[in-house]
Structures are given as C-alpha cells and as structure tokens.
C-alpha cells in the first residue's frame, strides 16, 4: 500500500477501533460511571477536594 493510501485509510481504521471501544465501554457500564461522577459536584475540579 502506498503512503498516501495508508494515510487515507488510517483515520477510518481509528474510527472503527473507536466504535468498537465505545461499544465495549457501553456494555461494561462505563456510561453510568461517567454519569455518576458528572452529576455530583466534583470537589477536585473546583479545588477543594
């Protein structure tokens, strides 16, 4: 594969990996973990925790 074609395919490959990662994360319950952190005031963010 030429360098140009390789560079054109690379973002698509990364996108496919990204989709797979997101699907794995969702099935492992990571969205809930993010939600749980984000719906409570993050003391570290505001500088008191």
């Amino acid at each position: 594969m030429t360098r140009g074609k390789y560079l054109k395919c690379l973002p698509l490959v990364i996108l496919a990996v990204a989709g797979l990662f997101i699907a794995i994360g969702v099935t492992r319950g990571e969205v809930e973990a993010v939600l749980e952190k984000a719906v409570n005031i993050c003391l570290e963010c505001i500088g008191i925790g």
Binding site: V34, K37, G49
Partner: protein, 283 residues
C-alpha cells in the same frame, strides 16, 4: 458574522445551557451528562449539560472499578480521527474563552511576544503524567486515586465551576483552603497569559489539545495546504509549512487571509515560486 465565532459561541452556549444552575448554585443531573463533549468544558460548571472528556477519563482511571476506559478513549479516538485540532479551533468552549481574553487591550506589542519552543512540549508531559499516570498509579488504600489534572491544574474547573459554585454556596466557601488558593492563583496566571499571548493555555498546557494534535496530520478533516499562502497565523506558525502540524488548530484564518490577499495569484506553490523569483531578481 464570521462562521467560526458563530460556531464557537453556539458550542459554548449549547454546552452550558442549564441556566437554572447558575441561579441556584447547582449543577445539571440529567442523562446527557453521560455523554462527553469533544472540547474542554468542566462538568461541574453550573450550566454544563454534558461531561468533560478529560475529567471523565481521569475519574474512570482513578476509580477502583475499571483500569482502562474504553468508552472515553473510544470517544476521544473518534473525535480525533474525524476532526483533529479542528475541535480546538471551532468546538472547544475554553478555546473561545481564551480568544475573548486575548481581545482585552491591556498590553501593547502582544504580537512581539514569542513562546520558546520547548514550552510547547509541556502539554504532552501534563497529558502523560497528570491525566494518565497519576490517576492510574497514585492510588490509596482502597484502590481509589484522584483526577490529578483536575485537582492540581485545570483552570477550566476553577473558572467555570469553582468560582460560580463558591459564589453561590457558603458551605463550599468555608471548605476552600490552600488547594483552592493554588488553583485560583494558577488560573489567574493562565488568564494573564491568555490576555498577553493568543491561546496561551492551548499552546503550552492543554492535555486535550496535546491528545488531538497526534491526529492532526491524518484526520478526515484537514486544510488543503494548497489553499494557504502568506504568513498570517495567530498561533505563531508558518502556515505554508505548518498548516495541519501538531500546533495548528485549523482555525482556517490563514486560508481566509490568503483568499483576501492573494486572490487570483495562483496556488501556494506558484505564489512561493513567484516570490522566490522576485527575491532572486531583486538581489
């Protein structure tokens, strides 16, 4: 109105549209918070409807439940592969805040101030140490660590969340101590840095910009170097050589500038060849 400021303003307002939060010193607790926006926007900002990708990544890495976040990493990889640092130029609320700060006419000769090149690498160190290594490895007795970037460095947290929440809650004000003082001083320094230097935080400190920079050369959305001419770049780059480089935020201003200035003079390669010829002839 130009398209970029319009998009930036819509993103800033859209991601912080929970106005009730600002009035009552509370934060939004709905299901949208399970989704991360691509740019830096603190999820403890009273107006935030979505989550910050960096905060979420650190929270999961620092927790006891998972050792790796497929979900947030997947989102970041996806955003990077499609946009690269276009996110910085168009979709990051904190990027817009910095641009507005730079418009404050406080110092003269701002353009003359240059950032030493090695400063640009600091953001990569912050990404590796504060966003990944410390949350993963610095864990306590119960296997729980802390989001080190949020805790010690992030000015978005202090400015977007700390100040409005502390202003609205006496309890939080009483709890603020040395750590808050440190973060407030650091944020003040970043604010001054941004008034003086265009997007100081992006260029020197932002680990999210550092992450997206790895995708800048390959992402689906890129600027055609052939449409770029001249030397106009607020990020201190040479657009002809460095558009789409690690530091380019794809603001497109060099392209717009070239359109106005070099209209009808051919492609960038032709303009460069003509300029070189003129220099040789005048020598």
């Amino acid at each position: 109105m130009k398209i970029r400021p319009l998009v930036q303003s819509l993103v800033l307002l859209g991601s912080n549209a929970y106005l009730k939060g600002f009035m009552g010193g509370r934060i939004y607790k709905g299901p949208l918070k399970g989704v991360c926006v691509p740019g830096l926007n603190c999820y403890s900002c009273p107006g935030a409807l979505f989550s910050c990708p960096l905060g979420s990544l650190q929270a999961i890495l620092a927790g006891w439940e998972y050792s790796f976040s497929f979900y947030v990493t997947g989102l970041l990889l996806g955003f990077g592969a499609i946009f690269g640092r276009f996110i910085c130029g168009f979709l990051c609320p904190f990027g817009l805040i910095q641009e507005l700060l730079h418009k404050i006419p406080l110092f003269k000769n701002k353009r003359a101030i240059k950032i030493p090149k090695f400063f640009l690498y600091i953001k990569y160190v912050i990404l590796a140490v504060f966003v990944v290594a410390l949350p993963v490895f610095a864990k306590g007795e119960f296997g729980v660590g802390y989001p080190a970037f949020c805790k010690f460095l992030c000015p978005a947290g202090t400015i977007e969340a700390g100040l409005p929440l502390l202003a609205g809650s006496e309890g939080l004000r009483k709890a603020a101590g040395a750590l808050f003082l440190w973060k407030a001083l650091l944020s003040a320094a970043v604010v001054v840095g941004c008034v003086v230097i265009y997007r100081f935080f992006c260029r020197v400190l932002c680990p999210l910009g550092a992450f997206y920079s790895f995708f800048n050369k390959i992402s689906l959305l890129r600027i055609d170097p052939d449409e770029v001419r001249g030397t106009f770049c607020k990020m201190g780059l040479n657009p002809v050589l460095e558009v789409n480089s690690l530091e380019c935020i794809r603001c497109g201003e060099c392209k717009a500038h070239a359109k106005r200035r070099f209209a009808g003079r051919g492609s960038s390669a032709e303009v460069m060849a003509n300029t070189t010829e003129q220099i040789i002839h005048s020598a």
